[in-house]
Symmetry: C2
Subunit: 228 residues, 2 copies
């Protein structure tokens, strides 16, 4: 009645980072062992018997890339029987956000290398990881419509144009700068400071803002409507 199962369980993480100069990036590691040796893949690995799934992801991110993550949520579970050449491996994928300027990537013994890749210029990925990343990007684009975004990705203080560029990058379309600011002010998640951008590459230096964390996480729970 309880059939003998031959299924193994692993976790994978799609961690997004953002630097305003570039685009949205995904954290990838280069595999040191077969299958897909020397190919880029998502950080992840097998779940240990006693740990929760979240613990497994956190552990793998730490040991494979030296990343300490500040936002993590479950994304999707991938279970096609043929997705892993070693046999049946079901993977629970997680979705993470970090500010890449907060730490240095450190590839460990498990990985030859760990790097950020622009989501529009990804290398060939191991397993079905291209599909996993695609699912995560879709989730990001959906999330931005009903939850505030930015706290986990931007510096502590930032000009509004950084936040606007983040939205433009994720939504992949231009946004009117002035209407964007009005909308954000309306939500009340931004606090202005009496400080200005130090050395703008050009133009008038922008006022710096930071998130009102209380209001930000309140709206993250309640939901927003962001259609700009």
């Amino acid at each position: 009645m309880e059939p003998k199962q031959n299924i193994r369980l692993c976790v994978d993480a799609v961690v997004f980072g953002y630097t305003a100069k570039e685009s949205i990036s995904v954290l990838l590691i280069k595999r040191t062992i077969p299958p897909f040796m020397h190919r880029w893949a998502l950080p992840g690995g097998f779940v240990l018997d006693g740990e929760t799934l979240e613990e497994a992801v956190t552990r793998e991110l730490h040991t494979e890339a030296g990343v300490h993550i500040n936002y993590l949520e479950q994304l999707y579970t991938f279970g096609r029987p043929e997705r892993d050449p070693r046999g049946r491996v079901v993977s629970v994928a997680y979705f993470g956000l970090v500010n890449p300027t907060n730490f240095k990537l450190a590839a460990s013994s498990d990985a030859e290398d760990a790097r950020w890749f622009d989501i529009k210029k990804l290398p060939d990925l191991a397993f079905d990881h291209a599909e996993v990343v695609e699912t995560a990007v879709k989730r990001l684009r959906t999330k931005i419509r009903y939850e505030p975004l930015g706290f986990e990705l931007l510096d502590q203080k930032f000009p509004i144009s950084d936040l606007e560029k983040l939205y433009e990058t994720v939504l992949d379309r231009p946004i009117d700068r002035r209407n964007f600011q009005k909308k954000m002010n309306h939500f009340g998640i931004l606090m202005g400071h009496n400080e200005k951008q130090k050395h703008p590459s050009a133009g008038r230096p922008a006022k710096l803002y930071s998130f009102n964390e209380e209001q930000y996480f309140k709206l993250k729970q309640e939901g927003i409507i962001f259609e700009i």
Copy 2:
């Protein structure tokens, strides 16, 4: 390098049904075997080696309750090490919608009984299934805000008041009938017919509508903003 794992994988389904007279219901089965023998639980079971996760859910729903489902999506994967007294069992939960008037529930050998329960009057559930149902209800309430809902739950032809009651039930608050209709007309997913409700319990018989499937599924993909 690939540690010996002692984890088993199962799937569970939270299937919602709706009859306009009542509330939203969940399909539960009564267990015939330990653990939690004779307790109500979500339909589900162990994944077979060769089948996909979707195949596993569909199979279990069919054998345990005789249900043929018309909408199914992955909900969440529950992996706390202590969630099953038999040992480590990770469960991939699915979320389904059906119109209960379309078929008769049929409990099979695997289940003593299969019945619909009002989501506000659930019995004590086996395992962590109360948490799973709660997660599914939250998903339903979130989904309704950015996807059209109703096609999978209502009869082929229905008065708008049925759809409105569905929204009121899921959102758990009253909605202005006239503004609701305006909003729905605006989305363009409803088609009017030259037919009327046959024997209304009281009042003027309502015009019958059906969904414009093409537009409905287009909006399901693109997303809507439903804030009424």
